[in-house]
């Protein structure tokens, strides 16, 4: 066991923990936090993979390293999108919880065109 294997296993553990949080919490902000934990677990796993690929005088495989950097930025924009939607949801619904009945959201008012 070395530091790289440790990072990979930690990544696997983080993914499982995040998945648990995402499924069991109904508070949307908690789901967003859990989603970020899963994401960072995947990135950590990818980082361990990069480090395993050290060769040719490079201390890591640059391809996964590069993908992780862009991945973190995209995960942030997903978080920002989710938080902005949550704030509007909270304004409309008055609660930070995800409603139980998905069908309830669909009883539309009838007129669609202005």
């Amino acid at each position: 066991m070395n530091a790289v294997t440790l990072a990979g296993l930690a990544g696997a553990a983080l993914i499982g923990m995040g998945l648990f949080g995402l499924v069991t919490h109904s508070h949307i902000l908690r789901k967003i936090v859990a989603f970020n934990v899963i994401g960072s677990g995947v990135f950590l796993l990818f980082g361990a993979v990069a480090r395993r690929g050290a060769a040719s005088g490079l201390n890591a495989d640059p391809v996964p390293q590069a993908l992780v950097i862009t991945g973190i930025v995209v995960a942030f924009s997903a978080t920002a999108l989710a938080v902005a939607l949550l704030l509007r949801y909270f304004k409309e619904v008055g609660s930070p919880f995800l409603a139980d009945d998905p069908g309830a959201g669909a009883s539309q008012p009838d007129h669609e065109r202005p």
């Binding site: 296993l9 499982g16 949307i28 902000l29 690929g53 040719s56 930025v73 938080v83």
Partner: protein, 314 residues
């Protein structure tokens, strides 16, 4: 067990424990605070993996800006009413737990079953590095070998900004997002807002400039610049911009548009989309990185600010 492995093991255990608290905490505010600490620890893990670039991005974005965003949201939405639908309980919770443990074990098994001699693109990346004129293989991957992904990721940020804006109310369209700070920021924050941004800009520019040869680059530099911009607004030194501003729109799309333009010019100048003229790669890449850094900083800042509100506010 060596000393350094002992350190890594303690760091990993601590990181997992804090992540566990972020998932399991009773209150969402505590969960968010734990998540921010978790980001800092994770940045340390990345340093231990010799990925300074990633550590920097993780510290600035994963912990810093995401943390600010989540704290702000937690303050606004609160914990919710007691009689609200609570989280999954009982047998469902146990089953979910078992499923998640199985998932972790599956991923761990897959990871441990990987071939002893890891397949890697490092030799190929190193071999072609001279033809890009760059010294940093990560930058070569981002701006040359896999430039299409970087281009489209920067476009994803623009999509996300449009998405965040469309979550505004109709009547707030054209307004400014709410300032990230209080109306009357405290003295120390104003002080920080004056001191840190010039430093942030220096660091950001430095990251882009050295990114050609050493760790750094557009995404890393952009995150630092964005953090500096947000701090300036939080300190009340600058107002958030109006989303209808022509210059803001231009700044937002300028980097990706230039990148795309150079890519299309590659058909004529270099015989392939997103290829650079032979011998001039580095110059083109530096120009693209500069524009991209600026636009990424604008996009990240706008994402952190959120949907516009308060139209007509001076």
């Amino acid at each position: 067990m060596t000393l350094s492995f002992g350190f890594d093991l303690s760091l990993a255990v601590l990181t997992l424990a804090v992540a566990g608290y972020a998932i399991g905490a009773r209150e969402s505010f505590a969960s968010v605070v734990a998540f921010i600490s978790y980001g800092v620890l994770l940045a340390l893990v990345w340093v231990r993996l010799s990925a300074v670039d990633v550590a920097l991005t993780e510290a600035a974005i994963g912990s810093g800006v995401t943390g600010a965003l989540l704290i702000g949201a937690a303050a606004k939405v609160g914990e919710g009413a007691v009689d609200a639908p609570r989280s999954v309980r009982g047998a469902g919770r146990l089953l979910t737990a078992l499923f998640c443990i199985a998932t972790t074990l599956g991923i761990a098994t897959a990871f441990l079953s990987l071939p002893e001699k890891a397949p890697t693109l490092a030799p190929l990346a190193a071999e072609h590095l001279p033809s890009t004129g760059l010294g940093n293989p990560v930058t070569a991957v981002l701006l040359s070998y896999r430039a299409i992904d970087t281009l489209l990721e920067s476009v994803v940020l623009v999509f996300a900004v449009v998405g965040v804006w469309t979550f505004a109310s109709d009547r707030d369209w054209g307004g400014r997002p709410e300032s990230p700070g209080k109306d009357r920021p405290e003295q120390p924050l104003t002080f920080l807002g004056q001191i840190l941004p010039p430093l942030g800009i220096l660091v950001g520019v430095h990251l882009v400039w050295t990114g050609a040869t050493e760790p750094g680059g557009a995404f890393q530099g952009g995150t630092v610049l964005a953090a500096a911009w947000i701090l300036v607004m939080a300190a009340g030194l600058r107002k958030p911009p109006s989303i209808e501003g022509a210059w803001l729109r231009f700044a937002l799309i300028g980097g990706p548009a230039l990148f795309l333009g150079v890519g299309v010019a590659g058909f004529a100048l270099a015989k392939a989309f997103l290829a650079y003229p032979e011998g001039h790669s580095k110059a083109f890449i530096l120009v693209i990185e500069a524009a991209l850094t600026f636009s990424i900083a604008i996009a990240l800042g706008l994402l952190a600010l959120g949907a516009p509100g308060r139209k007509g506010h001076p």
